[in-house]
Every structure is written in structure tokens, then in C-alpha cells.
Subunit: 326 residues, 2 copies
């Protein structure tokens, strides 16, 4: 099942859509739940009817179905009460810390890194990225993530997997120029992590099929910058799987339905996989060529992200964002 959110002037949460498997047609599901968060908060009641609507949409010509127009879609959750982003790809952590001359945490391979994000104002998948100041070093980070049902404090990493309702694609926008001074203050990211954007479709496990194994999505995340291929790292390389990230987040708190947990920047220790963020490529350039050449994003630059399965299906729809002057 694929779910999406229609932008709405009447609701900050938008309107819930069910989308066909081929991403071309949609139907409003607002009779079942007004918006995706509402559906997740009442999943035991809404899940069945949504699945039924999805099956009918994929099978028949529904009279109220309409052609998907991506510019009318928001991120699946335009906002959420809990957005926590892990950093499950060790190769990414190594390159980024090397780039800013920061030591690796002693618990690198035993305790996930995770930061608390702000979830009140996500960007739509095709929305411009407003940039105040070029010196902030605007970067993208291609990630996958999960949206949870209610998840209790202290959940185990195995049991946590049963609380995943949906999978998503994420562009975690990062302002590299602000990170060193923020982290030096000791309180973590804040200004350096402005609004993220998501691929337009949030999908259930069955859409991933055999590509979902051991709490990881084993498919490459295709990233492009200004029309050229930038990376195709496989998301299956997560050192910590999603169940471990969820258990880490839930160690001292409940996680309420609609919580989004991100994988961190998808990254492979392979010279042919490219990168899912600019800072990684810059560090690789420095190691292999002696200087960082690729600049951070400037006004007019365009980033694109997508995940295509072995049968050519575009799973999450595309993130396609241009940097503009704020």
C-alpha cells in the first residue's frame, strides 16, 4: 500500500490519499482518516479499510480516482510530533568526522548516534530549499526512514520492528557551516538542521517485498545533483537496523504514533557507490586528490533522490528540490 498527502489550505496536516502501485492514480481516503497521522493513531481501525481501498484502486477504475500531480503533494507527514534521526551508516560517520576533524565516538559500533529533530514544518518533496546565507554550507542527506505506530518505552530491538507502519525516503537538509560551532556548544544540532523533505509516498512493507530484510531496505538510494548522478549507495548497509534505532529512541520515553525514525545518510564503503551527501564526496576528494572540489549547494542547484527496485518500480516517488535565496 502507498499513502500520500494532498496539500490543503484547510489543514496543516493535509488530506490522506491512497496511491496506486505505479504512482499514477490516487483516491482520497479522508472518509477513513482525515490525514496520515490520524490514520496511524487509529491504525487498528483504519488499516483494513485503507488496504481495501488500495486493492480496489490497483484493480479497478474507481470513479473518484484522479491522476497524481506531484506538485500538489506534501510530504506524507507535513509535520510530526517526533522526528528522530539516527546515523546507522558507519562509513558516513567516519567520513564526516574526518571532514570536520572530530574524533569518532568510542561507542561507534555499539550505541547508535541519534539526534532529536524538529518536526513542525517539513518541506514538500518538490519544495525549494530556502538558503539564508551561502556560508552556511547547504547540503542534502539522502536517507530512508520508518513511521511508527505507538511504541512503548523500553521496547526491544526485535519487538520494535513490529511497530513500523510505513517506510519513507528523506532529504535531511544540513547546514554544514553551522555544525562545528553548534556541536562545540555541546547541545547538538539545532540551527544546522532546518526543515527536511520526504519522498511523496509512504509505503507498507509488502511494497518492499524481499528487499526488506533484517530491518533494512536492501536497495540503492539514487541521488542526483544538477542532473548528474551523485550516488547510489545501498541502504542495506545500515550497521544498526531500524529495530535497533527504534529501541535506542524508546529507551527512556514512549514514542507516539506518527514518530519518524531516520536511518542517517546512506553510505557504502565502496568507491563505485558515490555519496548521498556533498560533505562525504568532499572528504573522499580530499583523501584521493588532496583537495575538496565539490562546493556545497548554491542558489539554483537541484538535488534529486529516488529508490527504484529491481523491476523498475519507483517506490517512494521523487524528492526534487532547488536551493533558492530565502
Amino acid at each position: 500500500m502507498k499513502l500520500a498527502t494532498l496539500k490543503s489550505i484547510d489543514s496543516r496536516d493535509g488530506e490522506l490519499l491512497v496511491v496506486s502501485r505505479d504512482n499514477t492514480r490516487a483516491v482520497k481516503a479522508t472518509d477513513i482518516a482525515p490525514h496520515l497521522r490520524g490514520a496511524l493513531e487509529n491504525w487498528s481501525v483504519t488499516h483494513g479499510p485503507l488496504q481495501e481501498l488500495s486493492a480496489r484502486l490497483n484493480r479497478e477504475q474507481l470513479p473518484n480516482a484522479f491522476a497524481v500531480q506531484l506538485e500538489n503533494l506534501h510530504s506524507p507527514m507535513p509535520r510530526t510530533f517526533q522526528w528522530a534521526d539516527g546515523s546507522a551508516f558507519i562509513h558516513h560517520i567516519k567520513l564526516v568526522r574526518m571532514a570536520r576533524g572530530a574524533p569518532l565516538p568510542e561507542t561507534l559500533e555499539t550505541v547508535p548516534l541519534m539526534y532529536q529533530g524538529g518536526g513542525d514544518d517539513f518541506l514538500p518533496p518538490l519544495a525549494d530549499i530556502p538558503q539564508l546565507d551561502f556560508s552556511h554550507g547547504t547540503d542534502f542527506e539522502g536517507e530512508v526512514g520508518v513511521i511508527l505506530l505507538d511504541t512503548p518505552m523500553g521496547v526491544s530491538s526485535t519487538e520494535a520492528l513490529n511497530h513500523i507502519a510505513l517506510f519513507v525516503l528523506i532529504n535531511d537538509v544540513s547546514l554544514r557551516g553551522l555544525i562545528p560551532e553548534e556541536l562545540a556548544q555541546g547541545f547538538g544540532f539545532f540551527q544546522s538542521k532546518p526543515s527536511s523533505a520526504f519522498g511523496p509516498f509512504a509505503i507498507t512493507a509488502d511494497e518492499l517485498g524481499e528487499n526488506l530484510r533484517e530491518g533494512r531496505i536492501h536497495l540503492p538510494l539514487r541521488v542526483g545533483l544538477n542532473g548528474e548522478a551523485f550516488g547510489s549507495a545501498n541502504a542495506g548497509a545500515m550497521h544498526f537496523h531500524f529495530g535497533q534505532l527504534i529501541a535506542h529512541a524508546a529507551r527512556t520515553r514512549n514514542l507516539k504514533a506518527g514518530t519518524i525514525i531516520g536511518s542517517g545518510t546512506v553510505s557504502n564503503d565502496s568507491p563505485i557507490s558515490g555519496s548521498s551527501c556533498i560533505v562525504e564526496r568532499r572528504m573522499i576528494e580530499k583523501i584521493t586528490e588532496g583537495t575538496m572540489k565539490t562546493p556545497f549547494m548554491k542558489v539554483g542547484d537541484v538535488v534529486k533522490m529516488e529508490m527504484i527496485d529491481q523491476e523498475g518500480r519507483d517506490l517512494f516517488g521523487k524528492i526534487h528540490q532547488r536551493v533558492i535565496q530565502a
Copy 2:
């Protein structure tokens, strides 16, 4: 005007109440907005009718008014999409960093410290604090805070003050034992900052009168532990006022209606003001007596917070929380 939220089994946001100035009577305001966040998202429409209802409640015997029962109240916002906590009391920063042997940030007096909190699951004012593990070092932090209307990216610290709708009292629960290892990872607080609780009443500026000056609330925050006075530090000692904290939070992002910005632990550089958290008292004990004597909270310990004005009015109602085994 005083607003509050009735717990509800039908809504995770609860039901909006207007409360009388003396905290004794309330009336449902769900005809105006279903819950406080809804009221704030549509403040230009809801503010007038809420004020009118408040004036009538304070003046007359409304037929649908009822006696306030604190155990039925949730925090004014049971959840919010954006909870960002500053640390505006320099004395607190100095003591806490000294306690964990961490250096002071170079920008101590020029750039506010602020961490991104998680807002999906706040505790009610009288709710128990679940503690998993005594070694986590459960502590309270008494704070004041503001709830915002929609606030644009890049707002100035002066203009930011005009986006404040309401003032609140906060217990920012902290797990001291988890902070050093989390901060050593470099990603800021996460597990060490579980669910916060709030005083039951969110109040407009007129309730503070002359005590609200230059973006600060000039009144002592009374904190008690197990029935004994623990602190009465004046919240007016904020080094950065609320406008500066809001401008810091909004530097690279919009802040949507319902955003809560906390002051950080209220703290005065005076031996008679006591403390608003245990870790401060422990550090003062170490400085003055050579050893830390006051233990962190253990199962059964009770913390109480309130703010009383010069005329004896209890402004925010009481936070009253007992630590229990999770």
C-alpha cells in the same frame, strides 16, 4: 486569560478549557477551538472569543462552569510539534558544566544554548515520573517558557516578542547519568531528556502584569522537594530574554503555532535563592562543603513547582510529580 487542557480519551490533544483567574472554576471552550493547539493555529479568530469567555467566567456564574479538579488536567499542550529548550541562565550553565567537568562554551554570553526537545508525549502536571534505572540520576529542572503563534524564519529578537501567545511553567526532567555519554557522542541530548511536564495553566501576558518586563518574567520560581523548600530563584535573571531565544530558534527555520520555547533552568547567583534542579545544589555542596550530599531523585521522591505573584496569586498552578519505578 488562563487556558488549560482537560484530559480526554477521545483526543490526544485533550479539550480546551478557560480557567478563572483564581484557578477554581473552568468552562469548556471547545466551541471556539477543540484544543489549545487548534486555538493557537487560528488565534486571530479564536483569541477574541476566548478572552470574552474568560471575562464572563471571571465576572459571572456561568451555567456550564465547573470546579477545577487538577487530576483531570493535562499539560496545557499534551504534545507539540516543536519544543526547543534554551539555557538562558548563565549561573546554571556554569554550575552544571563544572559538575560534569565540561568546559564553558566560548560563546556563553553571546549565543544562547538551545536543545531540540521531543514533544510527542508530555506528562500531565500531577503525573508520576517513570524511572527505569536509579543510576540514570533523575533530576528536575524548573523553568518558565512561552508558547508561540506562527513565527517566520529570520525574525528579530524584538519582533519575536510579538509572536508570544502564552506563558507556561515547565519541569524539564533530566537523566543526569546519561548526559555525559550522550554529549560525548556529539549529537546532543536524546535519552537524557525524557518527557517534560507543565504547570496546568497557560496564561496571557496580562496575567503577569508588571512582572513581565523586557521579555522576562520577574518572579521567583518556587521549587520544593519532598515537602521542603529547595529553591526560589527569580526567573527575571535570564541573560537572554525570550525574544532572543525565539530569534535563535528561528534563525534557519519557521516556528509553527504551538511551538514551546523554554528558558532553561531558573538560576540565580545568590546563596539565598536555592536551586531549581538537584545537580546545581550538588555542585554548590561540593564547592562549599567539599562533597555532593543531595542524591538525585529516587522512587517515592516528590518535586513541586509553582510561581506565586506579589498578591499571592498562583499563576500557573502546581507541578507536583512523584518518581515511580517504570
